[in-house]
């Protein structure tokens, strides 16, 4: 499957990936509205790790053997049979956050506003290229089949 690959040597720490991820997962999908009019504000599904000048954007790796899927008590965390992406069914999620505990990359976030749903990368289902990749100004993340 196509995955997001990280080229940390070119990550400039601008966090535009984070901003565009947030916008894409907002109600309106409009940047100014998403930031200024929607409350609670949508969450970005990725994290930007930074230490000194080293930085990179990290999203769910959509592991082949996904610990979050195994740990999920309700079956909310599942693999999409068509795209192979790991998705979270918000209807089923009860907010036990076991997935958060077992994720080896720390990329599943708790949505404190709703307190039920884990927030994680869905590879922008329906988009040809995830918005973080499309909006990275320096090609520090790429979406490719390897």
């Amino acid at each position: 499957m196509k995955r997001i690959y990280i080229h940390e040597e070119y990550c400039i720490g601008c966090r535009l990936c984070e901003i565009h991820c947030l916008v894409h997962h907002s109600e309106s999908k409009k940047i100014v509205k998403a930031f200024k009019e929607e409350f609670p504000r949508a969450m970005s599904r990725l994290v930007v790790e930074e230490q000194g000048y080293l930085s990179f954007a990290l999203q769910c790796r959509h592991c082949e053997e996904a610990p979050c899927v195994e740990a999920c008590i309700t079956g909310a965390m599942h693999r999409d049979p068509e795209t192979n992406a790991i998705l979270c069914d918000q209807e089923k999620c009860v907010g036990c956050w076991m997935c958060v505990m077992v994720c080896p990359f720390g990329v599943i976030k708790r949505d404190m506003e709703i307190k039920q749903v884990a927030s994680k990368c869905d590879l922008c289902q329906g988009e040809e290229v995830p918005v973080c990749v499309r909006n990275c100004p320096n090609e520090a993340i790429t979406f490719e089949e390897r």
């Binding site: 070119y10 901003i19 940047i31 320096n138 520090a140």
Partner: protein, 501 residues
Amino acid sequence: MSLSLYPSEFRIERDPERCIVCQVCVRQCANDCHVYDEDDDCIVSNERNCVGCHRCATLCPTNAITITQNPSDFKTNANWTARVIKDIYKQAESGGVLLTGMGCDRQLPSYFDRMLLNASQVTNPSIDPLREPMELRTHLGSKPERVDFKRTGEGFDLTTELSPQLVIDTPILFSAMSYGSISYNACLALATAAQTVGTFYNTGEGGLHKDFYPYGENTIAQVASGRFGVHAEYLDVAAAIEIKIGQGAKPGIGGHLPGEKVSEEISQTRMIPVGTDAISPAPHHDIYSIEDLRQLIFALKEATGYRKIAAVHNVAPIASGIIRAGADIVAIDGLRGGTGAAPTMIRDHVGIPIELAIAAVDRRLREEGIRHRASIIAGGGFRNSADIVKAIALGADAVYIATAALVAMGCHLCQKCYTGKCNWGIATQDPYLTKRLNPNIAQRRLVNLLHGWSLEIKEMLGGMGINAIESLRGNREHLRGVGMTQNELDILGIKSAGEAW
């Protein structure tokens, strides 16, 4: 500390309707122009630091930022212009020499802009480069006096021994920019782009990082007065050697790479201790005459050699001397040529425009009957393919571009290269900033630029009814001048617009 009288050069306008306080501008500005105010959850501008590089405006996801010239004017005075007054304020505060980067930006007459190209339509019908072959390949080097051959059973065999030639697929080379003045990624982009296009890039006086040895076939290694990073392997790995005598942006003075830019990698490449200033003297201390130069040329000729001089008033006889000293290629650099750092007064007031230098050198060499003994590469402010066509019609064999290459990579000509804080990751060694130039993107953009320019050159040649760049070289009949005095036309060796054969 007293109040600085130097006004902000730019205004940062932030549209509050659009600003989403995402802080991309805060993270991207190396000059701390944007500061996040936590109490009010807003971003405030520190306009005094702004250099007008447009990094923030380019990356702002909502186009909320506009950078404009500070409209605040001094009282109109034809002599004491704002530029003059500001320079004095700056110098009264610092007590030092005014420094700047890039090429001369004064409004001097541009001869390129006053020359027009010819198009033939009836007697020498125009050619469509998309349908018919069009040759841009150029051979740089010394050409033989005459060619001898003998008949063999199947055809002819050349008996004349030819000098080594640098073959370029388009008459454009990347001119000297050292590793140190520009970043590793910028050097890598130039090297890979030169290889893809089939041309050369020039190491400048900073030596050659070992990682770039694989691009040796597309490398011109420079030997400058400081001799930084010059060793046998460096000379061997490159396809040609350039002895740098001067530089258009700062004729008559040497180079200076501040110690802060001399990192571990640069120290190894230049063969100097980490953190020491890399100062190249104004002259080569072993070249005080054409005869001395001849000795150095022959010492370096185990590979191939050629020289570079800065265009000054007596450029023609000097070029002649250089060729007689044994150079295969002479590079001349004009007034508008760029640099990473130069004293402002030198950059803006020393030298001559490259157009006049090419014409003067080409004519002198023809008069002396030695034009074939060396190729001429002209550099110094080529902005587009039309400038290149005009330079070749004036007599250059090929041109050097550097400013245009930097602009293609993202440079916004803020002229602050000497500060080492290039927000575009080009003229800096700061690891936070160098990452901003992805060499793959930069290479793609450089290749695109050369590809586009080459196509345009072919179109212009086609319009003139010629199908090879060779036929344009020194063909001044294809140029006409507008708005020039008779003397200027004579120096350029061209007719006035409207004048026929």
